[in-house]
């Protein structure tokens, strides 16, 4: 397997300017600057704004192999979109190195753009006022795809994404779900090796989300397209991706297969115990209690705890056990846990 994306100590920071208040100190700064011929000091003194650098990506080293499907995940403002923009070459990193499809993306933006597809959920790449099939045809000519090869691929994608009935409709008249299907189909039409999806399911209803996930999975498995997907919807990631990268404040905090995130972060089982009445204060060995009142109690068991059953057996309460539910926590619970830890 070859690395299709490789970053080394990649960082990106943006200047953030804040207006400065005019203070009496300014005058003394100006005098001092003039008297000492300190031009930098003078400029700082009369400048009406101060500039701070805000770091959006901080020292990220990441390797993605060909054929992988990677979920890139993090809370708002964690630097996800910035990362995708750097990978696509439309933003220039502040430091570090990056190679996508064997080239530096911002120096070879046009060449790279021919080989990847991208869908930004909040923005459309289709020609808004034209019928959908015109967008596809223009796409073919812009990407210089051979007409015969294109016709086959177009046929496959139209069938897979269920677009036959809407081909003659102007894009502005499509529903959001229809449009997103068309966006992803178009992004795949020039046979890209790599597909960037930035919040592809944003604003879609449950059924449309489900279908979209199926299509993306199919593109990854059947067409061998490497997929990088950012999403707030953890189900997107859970159902589509094989690997997950969690970022916060520009740094990677987790990188590995989805199955290992539960193990790595400790919580493996979620247990709901129902009593016939409020058992009062109880203590379960090796478990963490989530809510401590009422007849229905929730506990989290981590790996190191003794077995759940023996722990329940040793429960010291007069209340009778009515029901026990044991479930594996979803990625969602775990990520929520991570986010909550960050914000405190």
């Amino acid at each position: 397997m070859n690395a299709i994306i490789q970053t080394r100590n990649l960082s990106k920071s943006f200047p953030k300017r804040t207006a400065r208040n005019w203070r009496p100190k300014v005058m003394s700064g100006v005098w001092q600057g003039l008297l000492m011929a300190d031009w930098t000091g003078l400029r700082q003194a009369i400048s009406t704004q101060t500039t701070n650098m805000i770091s959006a990506i901080d020292d990220v080293s990441l390797t993605v192999q060909e054929g992988e499907c990677v979920g890139y995940l993090g809370p708002n403002g964690a630097g996800k979109s910035t990362m995708i923009k750097i990978m696509t070459g439309i933003l220039v990193p502040t430091s570090g190195s990056i190679s996508v499809l064997g080239r530096t993306p911002h120096e070879n933006r046009v060449e790279n753009a021919r080989q990847f597809g991208s869908v930004f959920g909040q923005r459309s790449q289709l020609w808004w006022d034209l019928q959908l099939h015109h967008s596809f045809e223009l796409h073919r000519r812009i990407y210089g795809v051979d007409p015969l090869e294109f016709r086959m691929r177009r046929g496959e994608l139209i069938e897979a994404f269920d677009l036959l009935d809407i081909l003659d409709r102007p894009v502005r008249l499509l529903s959001l779900g229809q449009r997103m299907r068309a966006e992803i189909a178009m992004a795949l039409m020039h046979n890209p090796k790599l597909l960037f999806l930035d919040e592809p399911t944003i604003g879609l209803d449950l059924v449309a989300k489900d279908r979209l996930r199926t299509y993306v999975r199919r593109a990854n498995r059947d067409l061998a397209v490497t997929v990088i997907i950012t999403s707030h919807d953890l189900k997107d990631i859970e159902e589509v991706c094989t690997r997950i990268v969690v970022v916060n404040e520009g740094s990677i905090v987790f990188d590995g297969p989805i199955s290992s995130i539960t193990a790595k972060l400790g919580y493996t089982k979620k247990v709901q115990v129902t009593f016939d009445r409020d058992p009062g204060n109880i203590n379960l060995l090796g478990a963490q209690e989530k809510n401590a009142s009422g007849p229905v109690r929730h506990f989290l068991f981590d790996d190191a705890a003794p077995s759940i059953l023996s722990s329940l057996k040793s429960l010291d309460t007069s209340a009778q056990l009515v029901d026990i539910k044991i479930e594996d926590p979803g990625v969602e619970d775990i990520i929520r846990k991570i986010y909550a830890n960050w914000s405190t």
């Binding site: 923009k85 439309i90 060449e111 991208s118 909040q122 790449q125 000519r141 990407y143």
Partner: protein
Amino acid sequence: MRIFFVFAEASFRVQASFSRQVFVLIIGALINVVARVAIWTSVYDEQSSVSGVELNQMVTYSIIGTCLLLTWDSGLTIRDLGAEIRSGHIANKLLLPYQFPLFSLALQFGARVHYVLTTGLPVIILVSLFTGLLPPASMFALGLFIISCAISFAILFSLSTIFALICFWLFNAISAELMLRGILVLLSGELVPLWFFPEGLARVVENLPFCWITFYPMAIYLGEIDHGAAVLTVAGGLIWVSVLLSILFLLWRRICQTIALQGG
């Protein structure tokens, strides 16, 4: 170059998809032309010639200048691009496998071709039925006029893209739009030809790129510039085209290095 025409065609199709707008555009252009012809007729007030320019030349100048060598669409470009920069939708255009400045030029070119075919030419034909439209001074003048039209488009479209790109710093297109519009109305000769400018001002303006947009092509068409000077004028226009395109691409390179895309 192939992709340039793909984008131009796309832009043409977008315009063509609003078929009903054509009638409105024609009415707008008609009012514009009739108003200008009426103004020049009353300015001449029974005199056959002012500053060596005859009334029927001025009428021809107004008609073709308004329908073919117009400048108002540059404001639309700045406004559209400015809005895309502000919302961050520009990112999508940057993901295309093509140089963005050329993409912008292609869009403007396609829209202009659509305008000329559906609005400009019909209005010229319609108006010329009622007023005397002069033919080109000679075949040679016609040839140079056609080349001048290409130069006119190239200068106008690169100017509007340059002004639109300034929005990356201003994040507000209106100021850039108003500024360019003011400059163009006055200095391109669209409203008043350079012949009627005060001597000193005319000396300055005739060397700026703006008058290649409307004034020089029309002066060549009417035969007001003799053959030798006309060829030199066209050469000067080509130099301005290359200068403006260079500025555009340098500006673009600089923006690519420092760009901040809005809207997450």
